[in-house]
């Protein structure tokens, strides 16, 4: 009996101490939990959130930092939203997630808050990406697009114009390599690790050869299309271990950018954020020597950039959707986007920021990004995109890792798998 008494008292203490904690919460400002990833310039984000606090003393933003990698961040966000976790209010969505998040009922439908008139003030690419079955589920924070960086000083030295064709890039590179005769210098670096970035890089090679992975309207998978196979062979035979060091097979953005800013590659493919890093004399050996433009293409085809970038979403189960919306509005306002553009080098999604005199004066390169931004194409839009992407990553990685790989054979296998995923999506009762 005694033991039972002791245990009851113990349990009582536990319960009491729990209720105490909850009751003291109400008097403090509303906590909004913002689940983010580790940004490249954390200090800029801290300043922005601090100024939100000053203007909105009734709201407190609690920042939770997730992994840097998009795939790993997705795993965490999806896991918490799936469990209807109310402890997340605002989260980031990669440009490929809105169909999935909308279909699963995780992201709050913002149509009543985010009016069509307001949407028109944003660039159209990311707005399309945030729209699913006529409703909008996210507010674009900043734009991403594959950009082509190059060493302006080296190209000038050898009297080259920035290449518009892949072949031209290789030719120019050979000349520069011969002329510089510097150990460890390579022509190109990009992201070829088996992860989401591989899909982005390979899409650009495929599109710039007139190919496509999936016919969006019919859902037909075109991996064994000759245009696709040819561009994969080009990457396998001419880029990996030739123009680029073989190590890029295990590189994400930071490692490949490192190579470029250490002056070890002449050309480099990356997102807009790389501009600020490459021109920061504290981090980069090539500050002030960098040019930027659109991704090269294959003969007779047009350049294309993978649409990237991040959006704010609000948890459908959030208890504080109103306060969360105020935060999202602030974070996507002209003023905030201007700060993010000026101090973090992030490309605005609001058209007006590009016309801002301060931005034009201090960030003239943003207008140099615009041609690429107009060339953007989305990755396959589908609620089962994570599955499609995993299979594409596997296929691309196999295709480019082993020389002499049987690309058409592997394409047939992967196509069949992806068509199965589509079949799952088609089972949804309309």
């Amino acid at each position: 009996m005694k033991t039972i008494k002791i245990m009851t008292i113990f349990l009582g203490i536990v319960v009491l101490s729990c209720t105490n904690v909850t009751s003291t919460w109400a008097e403090k400002p509303t906590n909004i939990v913002f689940l983010t990833w580790k940004p490249n310039q954390p200090e800029v984000w801290d300043t922005v959130i601090e100024s939100f606090h000053q203007k909105n003393p009734d709201i407190h933003i609690k920042v939770q930092v997730g992994p840097h990698s998009s795939t790993q961040y997705h795993a965490i966000v999806a896991q918490r939203l799936k469990n209807m976790d109310k402890s997340v209010d605002v989260f980031f969505m990669d440009v490929i997630w809105p169909p999935e998040f909308a279909n699963a009922g995780w992201a709050l439908d913002l149509s009543s808050k985010f009016s069509a008139e307001e949407q028109n003030k944003f660039l159209s690419g990311p707005i399309t990406a945030n729209t699913y079955q006529g409703k909008i589920y996210g507010v674009p924070c900043y734009l991403g697009a594959g950009l082509f960086y190059y060493r302006e000083d080296l190209l000038k030295k050898y009297h080259f114009k920035p290449p518009t064709l892949w072949k031209e890039m290789l030719k120019q590179g050979e000349v520069v390599l011969k002329g510089e005769n510097e150990q460890g210098l390579h022509i190109y670096s990009g992201q070829f690790k088996q992860y989401e970035g591989l899909v982005c890089n390979m899409m650009e090679f495929i599109w710039s050869n007139g190919g496509a992975v999936i016919e969006q309207k019919t859902g037909k998978v075109l991996l064994d299309d000759p245009a696709v196979v040819k561009s994969l062979k080009f990457v396998r035979d001419k880029i990996i271990a030739r123009a680029a060091p073989r190590g890029v097979i295990n590189y994400e953005e930071p490692e490949s950018l490192d190579l470029f800013i250490q002056g070890k590659t002449i050309f480099h493919r990356n997102w807009p954020y790389a501009w600020a890093v490459a021109n920061d004399p504290k981090k980069s050996k090539i500050a002030g020597k960098v040019g930027v433009g659109i991704i090269p293409a294959f003969q007779g085809h047009n350049s294309a950039s993978t649409l990237g970038g991040w959006q704010f979403g609000i948890n459908n189960y959030s208890m504080h959707a109103r306060e969360a919306w105020r935060f999202v509005q602030f974070m996507t306002s002209h003023e905030t986007q201007k700060i993010l553009a000026l101090d973090a080098g992030l490309a605005p999604t609001r058209r007006s920021v590009y016309q801002d005199p301060d931005v034009q004066e201090k960030r003239p390169h943003l207008n140099a990004f615009l041609p690429a931004f107009k060339n953007t194409r989305p990755r396959p839009l589908s609620p089962v995109y994570p599955m499609i992407s995993q299979e594409l990553q596997r296929f691309f990685s196999q295709a480019i890792t082993e020389s002499g790989s049987d690309i058409p054979g592997m394409a047939a296998v992967s196509s069949a798998r992806i068509e199965k995923f589509f079949a799952l999506g088609a089972m949804i009762p309309k």
Partner: protein
């Protein structure tokens, strides 16, 4: 009187039983339950129909899973073998009396004490193709011959195996050392009197007596190696071309990245069953050896 006592004992055991049920039995049962359903997180409209053994049948036909199983086996075989071998040498070394033995014993345990994620990150830097220390040690300043260890299918798996051997050999050493310490000194003295040289003393005294400890180390290492996840997750994410996509990582990707809860659970359950079978087989073997050793 006895009955009352039993109540008291039960009350004392209760917290431990509750913890075990809550954190071990419940997740295992839940995994089994999930693995009999088709659950796709991103498509909640499809509901979660019961599909009986469908996930398992698909898994049997899944070439990616088969490949993952195959490389996991390679990983388990190589890491376990080398960890026991190096562990044995380390144990023999730190069993000897010499000045600074205490400090060395502590040092040996450092790799094991470092969290795997941290040491995986460290090995990722060591194996780096542009500034990695390993390349520098082999090739010095001639950076052109540097090998991209993590970018080649064969060396990527070997790199992860090496990282695991570095990290867990000391754990094997610790278990074997425990076995060494229970061998009475008199046996060695007797062997010396009989004129046995060092190798003979090892072969006929040490070896038979540490075999039970070795088997226990073997058991722990095999089971642990089968569940390898963090090394591949941090160092390669399963790439290049699935070369390091170990079974557990494959299950994780299915479950948390792609959102196939049912299928991913089936992968986990299979790993669980494989490990369980190994454990039971080893425990029987170890149990028999222990008995033999006592006879």
């Amino acid at each position: 009187m006895i009955r009352k006592d039993q109540h008291f004992y039960l009350a004392l055991l209760l917290p431990a039983i509750i913890v075990l049920l809550l954190f071990i039995a419940a997740p295992i049962i839940n995994s089994f339950f999930l693995s009999f359903h088709r659950i796709i997180i991103g498509l909640p409209q499809l509901k979660t129909p019961f599909v009986a053994l469908d996930n398992y049948l698909q898994l049997l036909k899944d070439p990616i899973a088969r490949h993952s199983f195959f490389i996991t086996i390679i990983f388990v075989a190589l890491t376990t073998f080398f960890e026991l071998l190096i562990g044995l040498f380390l144990a023999l070394l730190i069993h000897h009396r010499f000045p600074g033995r205490g400090a060395l014993r502590a040092c040996v345990l450092i790799p094991w004490a470092i969290p795997t994620v941290v040491s995986a990150q460290m090995w990722r830097y060591l194996f780096n193709d542009a500034y990695g220390v390993i390349n520098y040690m082999i090739f010095g300043a001639s950076t052109n011959s540097y090998i991209p260890w993590l970018a080649l299918s064969t060396t990527a798996l070997s790199s992860i195996i090496i990282a695991d051997i570095w990290k867990t050999s000391s754990f094997a050493a610790l278990l074997i050392l425990a076995g060494l310490q229970v061998i009475p000194e008199e046996l060695y003295q007797a062997a010396k009197v009989d004129g046995a040289i060092a190798w003979q003393r090892f072969r006929h005294v040490t070896w038979p007596l540490i075999r039970p400890a070795l088997l226990i180390a073997l058991l722990f290492r095999t089971i642990d190696a089968f569940r390898v996840f963090d090394l591949a997750f941090v160092m390669t994410q399963g790439g290049p071309a699935d070369a390091t996509n170990v079974l557990q990582l494959y299950g994780y990707k299915k479950m948390f990245v792609e959102g196939w809860m049912g299928y991913g659970s089936a992968v986990s359950v299979c790993i669980f069953i494989i490990v369980l079978v190994i454990a039971v087989a080893y425990v029987r073997m170890v149990g028999r050896r222990l008995l033999e050793a006592n006879v």
